[in-house]
């Protein structure tokens, strides 16, 4: 079971349908800016391509390897009855009659094969999936999880990262979750426990199309969500019209700027160098702190 957060903590997920719209820029700048007067927990949940750490200067205080559980085959206990293959809904087990093949990448760690095996021939065992690292700098706790290359499933690592950060906050913490792009299971996992979701998009047909998908996903999750419109000034008015028609709040726009793109490219934070960007952060801060 997830440990429930105490009253007073705000958990914000920064998400988007389309990649490269500015999620990480927003999450990292917001984290450092807000850490002026609040404790911040920033978690990079884009475990396939974690980038927040390129922008946060902090000291490593803890690191551990993370595992998922998969069945291991005990040959001399096995009677080749085939129950394991029958009960696996993910085709992760193949009974060859002389051997049991296990496909770890297909396994969802449901334990059915292991617990329903009549001869206990499939005990669950650990399989490495990535590394979690906890960094600290002043009022910022930054937690990054990194999926091993070749691992297919991001969800179990995201889930473990969320459980890890649930143990960290004290009463006035703001938790910022830098989420993966898209609308499929990793995004669900990253946003499902958030109090508020900020969808970052850009004013182009790609931005609009992927925003619609993200909005549908947030509606399924029944989330309180708003939009931040990044690279404002390019493209067209489609996103603004869509948001107005659907009563979706655009809480801030961030103007398209080559200066911001250059600062980002070098791994620098933007809010302390570009006034207009900081003004946008202030509007986002007001949203985060409103009830």
């Amino acid at each position: 079971m997830t440990i429930k957060l105490q009253f007073g903590i705000v958990k914000i997920a920064i998400a988007s349908g389309k990649g490269g719209t500015g999620k990480t820029t927003l999450a990292t700048n917001l984290a450092v800016y807000l850490s002026g007067d609040r404790n911040i927990i920033l978690a990079d949940l884009d475990v396939e391509e974690p980038n927040s750490g390129l922008f946060i200067r902090a000291e490593k205080i803890y690191q551990e390897t993370r595992y998922k559980m998969i069945p291991g085959w005990v040959e001399n206990a096995c009677t080749f009855c085939g129950i394991c293959q029958d009960v696996c809904n993910f085709n992760a087990i193949l009974n060859l009659g002389t051997q049991i093949l296990i496909y770890p990448e297909l396994c969802h760690s449901c334990y059915a094969c292991s617990e329903l095996c009549p001869t206990e021939a499939l005990p669950m065992q650990k399989q490495r999936m990535g590394v979690l690292t906890h960094y600290k700098n002043g009022k910022i706790d930054f937690v990054e999880s990194r999926l091993d290359i070749g691992q297919e499933q991001a969800v179990p690592l995201i889930d473990q990262t969320l459980k890890y950060i649930d143990t960290l906050p004290d009463n006035d913490s703001i938790v910022i979750l830098d989420s993966p792009p898209g609308t499929s299971c990793p995004v669900i996992e990253a946003t499902k426990d958030a109090d508020k979701v900020i969808l970052v998009t850009e004013p182009t047909p790609f931005g609009l199309h992927d925003l619609r998908l993200a909005v549908e996903t947030m509606k399924i999750l029944n989330k309180d969500f708003v939009v931040v419109l990044n690279r404002y000034g390019i493209g067209n008015k489609g996103v603004e019209e869509y948001c107005e028609e659907n009563d979706i709040r655009i809480i801030a726009t961030i103007s398209d700027s080559r200066q911001v793109a250059e600062l980002y490219s070098s791994g620098e934070l933007v809010y302390d160098k570009v006034t207009a960007f900081r003004d946008s952060l202030d509007r986002i801060k007001n949203y985060i702190l409103e009830n």
Binding site: K18, E49, N51, G182, L221, Y264
Partner: protein, 292 residues
């Protein structure tokens, strides 16, 4: 027939714009596959007709029949995904959390739980405005199994390419390194990595290239927005040289791409001859190298 997959690691580097441009240049020599099924955007540039449409069913969801349920609680106890909850007078499946493993349905002593097939998206075969075939799909919001849908898109694209004697399949991949990307790479002959000179761009490109190396697929690279950070462009150039990645071209930071997207066109059709020349050069190099 050769299969070309365009990926990036990081999102928003220009993958789809460039894949659509390659699709435009290949004309009737290629079948196009949009493998970024959870944010498929290629159709916005190629205006497909959605000529063939079918449901994509994948995965299952547990359903508890409250008439039969005896409130024993075994399902909740055994579920590893915290997907079953109770209010004391009944048990309920949290559909968002249910992974469809079916364990609860198997062990329920009174068979009160059944597994229901899930509609996970839609699958399309279209003719585009430039008269080539686009195989594409739309994953239902929040659905699982994006890897399986990618595999279906690729399989159909390959089948059509073989049947119609096409030279290429051009596939637009998704960001990241997880299951949909792995699914896009399986069976591919040539990879195009589209990156940008930012700390994130190079970081993500290296991670996705490590993945490609496991598949042992010949790889090439386009550096988009190269003048945004000349220092990191230099680092990327050094990296691709040291890894024997085929260098395709550098594309300058420009509004040409967003202008084209806004008009629903590829960058080749949008009155930017310099940009068009670069992309054409990249396509020629891809064709040379894929057959080496």
């Amino acid at each position: 027939m050769k299969e070309i997959v365009v990926i990036s690691g990081k999102g928003g580097t220009g993958k789809t714009s460039l894949a659509a441009s390659l699709a435009f240049l290949s004309g009737e020599e290629a079948i196009i596959a949009d493998c970024d099924v959870d944010a498929a955007d290629m159709h916005l540039l190629l205006s497909p007709d959605f000529g063939h449409r079918e449901d994509f069913c994948s995965g299952q969801l547990a359903v508890i029949d409250s008439e039969i349920c005896t409130l024993c609680g075994l399902c909740m106890e055994k579920c590893r995904f915290d997907a079953i909850e109770t209010n004391g007078s009944g048990y309920f499946v949290k559909t968002i959390d249910c992974e469809g493993c079916g364990y609860c349905a198997r062990i329920c002593p009174v068979e009160a739980i059944s597994m229901k097939d899930q509609l996970a998206g839609e699958f399309y075969i279209s003719t585009t405005r430039i008269n080539n075939t686009l195989v594409h799909a739309k994953l239902a919001p929040g659905a699982e199994n994006s890897g399986k849908l990618v595999a279906k898109v690729k399989k159909e694209a390959r089948r059509m390419a073989e049947k119609e004697n096409k030279k290429y399949v051009i596939a637009d991949g998704s960001p990241g390194i997880g299951c949909p990307v792995i699914s896009s790479l399986s069976g591919a002959d040539f990879v195009v990595i589209v990156t940008e000179p930012s700390v994130s761009g190079i970081h993500d490109m290296k991670r996705v290239y490590e993945l490609v190396r496991k598949f042992d697929i010949k790889t090439s690279c386009i550096i988009n927005k190269h003048d945004l950070n000349p220092e990191i462009t230099g680092q990327i150039m050094d990296y691709i040289e040291s890894e024997s990645i085929v260098y395709l071209c550098n594309i300058p930071y420009s509004s040409a791409f967003t202008d084209a997207i806004t008009r629903g066109l590829t960058v080749l059709e949008n009155g930017h001859p310099d940009m068009a020349k670069l992309v054409k050069k990249a396509w020629e190099k891809i064709k040379q190298n894929i057959n080496d």
